[in-house]
């Protein structure tokens, strides 16, 4: 879509874009380019120039078991938490869309978790899931040693998944509800007149119509699980125990800023960037199809 009527003076036009261009050049393009450059060189942590090493950084990272462990952990985290957050949100939104008494209350409250900072909710869940106080302590009293995220990697992974999913159920709920409400009532009502039941209507009418939203949320949830997880991991597990929750962004942070391995961190950033770009392209293709759809 294009405007028919525009302003002629193009120099003024560019001036309006200058602040944005300066910002993204300084804080986006330059650092992104720098990351590529660093990933191909060996940067001295305290200055003193850098040596061109080609793809060595990538080679050493990809041959490092810790890195593969962090990729696996990220994928497990992304897969399970996205699945949980989306499934729960879908069920809640579908039921809220039935608009029984009280559905307004759900609509209001279910959104709150999304407003909470990841570290704050991580703190809350760290307490709720602590092995010696809080609520899992009750389980531990019945089965001693059943639950300890400080020692057991699977328990630690479960903790961060619970915290992340809790937040994103609220987020997904907004989109699912909006999608359900965009479906014309008459369509569902006509199907009901024809005698199809609630479940049949869901699968045959509502579900196909919200698939674009499902795919959109799938991509958003997965990309967010790579970024927004940082605060949760830092507060709840610090990547432990034994690297079990050392997700990709957390590893970039700890290698780059604690280990001062800028080149290694840059190479990891590049790999993560590529991963996210692939996911985003997928997302935009999907949105295009969605526009076509309506």
């Amino acid at each position: 879509m294009e405007k028919r009527v525009t302003f002629g003076k193009w120099t003024i036009g560019i001036l309006f874009a200058v602040p944005q261009l300066l910002l993204i050049f300084t804080f986006f393009y330059w650092p992104a380019g720098q990351a590529v450059y660093w990933s191909l060189t060996l940067q001295q942590p305290w200055g003193g120039g850098n040596i061109w090493v080609g793809l060595d950084n990538f080679r050493s990272i990809l041959s490092n078991a810790d890195y593969w462990n962090s990729i696996t952990a990220s994928l497990v985290f992304a897969g399970i938490s996205t699945g949980l957050a989306m499934f729960i949100a879908l069920v809640l939104a579908a039921l809220t869309d039935r608009q029984l008494a009280g559905s307004r209350l759900y609509r209001v409250v279910l959104i709150w978790p999304y407003g909470i900072a990841a570290p704050a909710l991580a703190m809350a869940f760290r307490f709720i899931l602590a092995p010696e106080a809080g609520f899992m302590a009750m389980v531990n009293q019945v089965w001693p040693g059943f639950w300890d995220p400080g020692l057991d990697g699977a328990d630690a992974m479960a903790s961060i998944i619970v915290a992340f999913s809790w937040k994103y159920v609220g987020y997904n709920f907004i989109f699912f509800l909006a999608a359900f409400q965009a479906i014309p009532r008459s369509l569902v009502e006509a199907a009901a007149m024809d005698g199809s039941g609630v479940i049949r209507r869901f699968w045959d009418i509502q579900f196909p119509l919200i698939t674009p939203t499902i795919f959109f949320l799938l991509v958003i949830n997965i990309t967010e699980s790579f970024q927004d997880s940082f605060g949760i991991v830092d507060i709840m597990t610090s990547g432990g125990p034994a690297n079990a929750t050392n997700l990709m962004v957390y590893k970039i942070y700890s290698d780059g800023f604690k280990g001062l391995d800028y080149s290694g961190a840059a190479a990891q950033s590049i790999i993560l960037m590529l991963l996210i770009i692939v996911l985003t392209i997928f997302q935009f293709r999907f949105i295009e199809r969605r526009v076509h759809y309506r």
Binding site: M1, K3, F7, K9, W10, T11, I12, G13, F16, A17, Q20, L23, I24, F27, F28, W30, P31, Q34, V91, L95, R98, G102, S103, L105, Y106, V109, L110, I111, W112, I116, A117, A118, P119, A120, L121, M123, A124, F127, E132, A133, G134, V169, Y171, I174, F175, A192, F226, Q227, F230, G231, D234, I252, Y253, G256, F257, A265, A266, S269, M273, I277
Partner: protein
């Protein structure tokens, strides 16, 4: 709905109620735990009846993590990011939609690409840039030979240096440098009728006048939505402030929360930790509750 389904209605209420409880439970636990004393908070099972130490704990958490100045910092950062996004996005969208100049599509794509890469994945080099914001420009001068030329001609050695670590601009500017809002405005500007522009032009209004007097008042709703969502987003930032505020004076409330995690071996002061958590989670929650309509609209509009 169209038919009577008592069983399904019961089932719907049941599931929604369970969802409601799961959603609200962590908030309740935080508030209740924040009101207990050291002994009660570590009781197994912890009592869900509130204790009497709520204000004492709030006060302790407030002073332990020095939350007063930290909340102010969070507030400055979040407001700065929200205002910056609202203004800069509007300017850019105006430029892209209402002008035809060479390279316009290039600018469009340059901005579009920034949506793909979040700050978290380019965190190391962005940190280096903030340590000296003029580094990119110095590099350009060096590479093009201009700094060499200047040194030859005037004898002045060009060494641009402007550090932004531990400063508000350092906290705010890199967070503004993505184009989230630009496309929200673009979509909206495209729906503004051409007749309005024609009328404004006939009345002799230039682009700036049209922008300020016609376009901005029309996009109030978009501004509220974008401002709300960006305020929340910035308030909840963690990794970036954690990195660049090495000095306590510019740390934000969210990063200070870490100070309150009970140490291994120390007293498990969960009541203080939860009081601090409550203080930090409250401002964004208030914003969500007050601005829910804009917030939801903004979320759906920016992401689509």
């Amino acid at each position: 709905m169209v038919e009577r389904t008592p069983f399904l209605n019961f089932f719907t209420h049941l599931i929604l109620f369970i969802g409601f409880v799961f959603c609200i439970a962590p908030f309740v636990v935080v508030v209740v735990a924040a009101s207990h004393n050291l002994k009660d908070v570590n009781d197994v099972p912890m009592s869900l009846l509130p204790g009497s130490d709520f204000w004492v704990n709030i006060k302790t958490a407030w002073t332990t993590a020095d939350l007063g100045p930290k909340l102010l910092n969070s507030f400055i950062m979040a407001t700065g990011v929200a205002a910056g996004k609202v203004i800069i996005s509007a300017l850019t969208a105006f430029s892209i939609v209402y002008f035809r100049y060479p390279g316009r599509m290039l600018i469009f794509w340059l901005i579009f690409i920034t949506l793909m890469l979040p700050l978290e994945v380019r965190i190391v080099p962005t940190y280096a840039v903030v340590a000296n914001v003029l580094e990119p420009y110095q590099a350009i001068l060096d590479l093009t030979g201009i700094s060499w030329l200047i040194e030859k001609v005037s004898g002045v050695h060009v060494a641009l240096n402007l550090g932004m670590l531990n400063s508000y601009p350092g906290l705010i500017l890199p967070l503004i440098a993505t184009a989230t809002g630009t496309f929200l405005y673009r979509q909206f500007f495209l729906t503004v009728p051409d007749e309005l522009t024609e009328a404004a032009r006939m009345d002799g209004a230039g682009p700036l006048r049209f922008f300020i007097d016609v376009l901005l008042p029309l996009s109030r709703n978009n501004m509220a939505a974008l401002g709300t969502i960006m305020f929340l987003w910035a308030w909840n930032q963690y990794l970036w402030p954690l990195l660049i505020t090495t000095d306590q004076s510019h740390a934000t409330a969210v990063t200070e929360l870490k100070q309150l995690i009970p140490n291994v071996g120390g007293a498990p002061e969960w009541h203080i930790a939860m009081a601090g958590t409550l203080i930090v989670m409250l401002p964004p929650l208030v914003v969500v509750v007050l601005m829910q309509r804009w917030f939801v609209r903004g979320l759906i509009a920016t992401e689509k």
